[in-house]
């Protein structure tokens, strides 16, 4: 019965609905962007309406929120955290630094495009993005999940070699457990 196509569809609908409305975020507060998270979560903008809620550890989280520039040193940790998260998982790039390097575009140790290294589902533009745009970003993510298009994790799995190559290019000494799920 479970393998039946129609019932699978129903299950998928329920699942996607649940995933959509329950986004537990792991805020990786790298740069100045982390300052925008508290207003987003507290009474003014109250992201909990959307089912957004903080998670304490990567094991429990659904969304990896990267709020700002990533030095190579931080990138290593972010990749580690991402790989520790459980499927399904999504990445939100937050602020222009994650998109094109932002004001750190010519820095000697800051990456300029996050999606070369991790599969980003949604980018939120701005330097800093206002809480409104953050909420808009979450809404976009929900839209994608509902449509079943937020498949960053799948992409990562499929193109793991490509990602690894890029990652290893900026992180020369690579000592991490293998990613195999």
């Amino acid at each position: 019965m479970i393998n039946d196509k129609n019932s699978q569809k129903i299950v998928d609908i329920i699942r996607n609905y649940a995933r959509k409305h329950s986004l537990w975020i792991l805020a990786y507060g790298t740069g100045c962007g982390a300052i925008e998270i508290p207003p987003t979560m507290t009474s003014r903008y109250d992201a909990e309406r959307l089912g957004v809620r903080g998670a304490a550890t990567p094991r429990q989280a659904d969304v990896l929120l990267i709020t700002g520039y990533l030095t190579t040193k931080t990138l290593k940790r972010v990749i580690r955290v991402y790989e520790q998260m459980q499927d399904p998982k999504y990445v939100i790039g937050f602020g222009s630094c994650t998109i094109n390097g932002g004001m750190y575009w010519d820095s000697y140790n800051t990456i300029k495009a996050l999606d070369r290294y991790l599969p980003v589902d949604v980018y939120i533009n701005g330097c800093m993005p206002r809480p409104e745009s953050v909420l808009a970003g979450f809404a976009k993510l929900q839209e994608l999940i509902q449509a079943g298009k937020a498949d960053g994790a799948k992409k990562y799995k499929e193109n793991l070699e490509w990602y690894r190559e890029n990652q290893k290019k900026v992180i020369p000494t690579w000592r991490m457990p293998e990613y195999n799920w």
């Binding site: 329920i14 699942r15 609905y17 649940a18 995933r19 409305h21 329950s22 537990w24 507290t42 009474s43 109250d46 909990e48 309406r49 089912g51 809620r53 903080g54 304490a56 550890t57 990567p58 094991r59 429990q60 989280a61 659904d62 459980q86 499927d87 399904p88 799920w181």
Partner: protein
């Protein structure tokens, strides 16, 4: 055989009931907290969504057998206490396993799960988990004292160690035990604060400093089972309090009303409280609540 099927059936139905009600209470907690903080807050059914999501999440790692069994341990506690605590007066709702002399059993089965889960948390090797466990156990050594004092006071006052007997006494006399044994009720109520682990006693899994403590390595299905067990256990505890102190309930609606009004206490207390350090909370429970417990025993012995 018939009995076994009946009890199994009863267990399933009461589990579903407890699950539903417990999760709803948790969702209402979030909603009410949000409203008090001048937020809109999530819908009341938010926790259902969370649980379903956790259940549908893929879980591809475990740290060993003990961690794998941890959630099952804690589920044993929840379901066993549900099976032993009579849901309605005269056990009208479903037959369950309750037996005479179950209060002492309940005291011990209530620590079975947390301890099992603590073992699971220990095996993950995450230092945060171990720290959380030590805090949880210390806090438990704190709040168990007033709780046991309250129960002992009831036991000696009514010469029984059975929940059903206590319920029947309340039905017969028409007087709730929270009025006839006020000190025991106070002690038990304050102990309940620790049992629910809301603020100010939430140091065990404080997300800010311990990364949710014992649960920090559990995600997906493990967290799913734990959350469900927590909700069921919360309902079971509330039902126990209602059974013991508030005269039980004759139907489910009354039960829900009574349990929810009882639930408001730790909830509201938690919303307006900051957080205690472990030794502070331990000392708190050995202070006023234990004094109330002692008074309850004296009251029971001499009146």
């Amino acid at each position: 055989m018939h009995e076994i099927i009946q009890i199994t059936w009863g267990a399933i139905v009461s589990f579903i009931l407890a699950f539903t009600v417990g999760i709803t209470y948790m969702g209402l907690n979030r909603k009410i907290t949000a409203r008090i903080q001048n937020r809109i807050g999530p819908p009341w059914y938010q926790n259902f969504i969370d649980v379903i999501k956790l259940g549908s999440k893929q879980t591809s790692i475990h740290h060993g057998v003990m961690q794998h069994m941890g959630p099952a341990f804690i589920m044993v506690t929840s379901v066993m206490s549900l099976l032993i605590i009579p849901i309605l007066n005269q056990n009208r709702f479903f037959p369950n396993l309750n037996f005479h002399g179950d209060l002492v059993f309940l005291l011990y089965i209530m620590v079975f799960g947390p301890l099992g889960m603590a073992l699971g948390a220990g095996q993950t090797g995450n230092p945060n988990s171990a720290i959380g466990v030590t805090r949880g156990l210390s806090q438990m050594a704190g709040f168990e004292i007033p709780w046991v004092m309250a129960l002992v006071a009831l036991m000696i006052q009514y010469k029984t160690t059975s929940i059903v007997d206590l319920m029947n006494i309340q039905v017969e006399t028409g007087k709730w035990l929270m009025f006839s044994s006020p000190f025991a009720f106070l002690a038990a109520l304050l102990a309940m604060l620790g049992m629910f682990r809301y603020a100010p006693f939430d140091i065990v899994g404080a997300p800010q400093e311990l990364a949710s403590g014992p649960m920090s390595e559990n995600g997906g299905k493990y967290l799913f089972v734990m959350m469900s067990a927590g909700s069921v256990f919360a309902f079971a505890k509330l039902t126990l309090y209602v059974d013991l102190f508030m005269g039980g309930a004759n139907n489910l609606i009354i039960l829900v009303v009574k349990t929810f009004s009882l639930y408001l206490f730790p909830m509201l207390y938690g919303i307006v409280s900051p957080r205690y350090r472990t030794e502070q909370s331990v000392r708190y429970f050995w202070g006023w609540p234990s004094l109330f417990g002692l008074l309850a025993i004296l009251h029971a012995m001499f009146f």
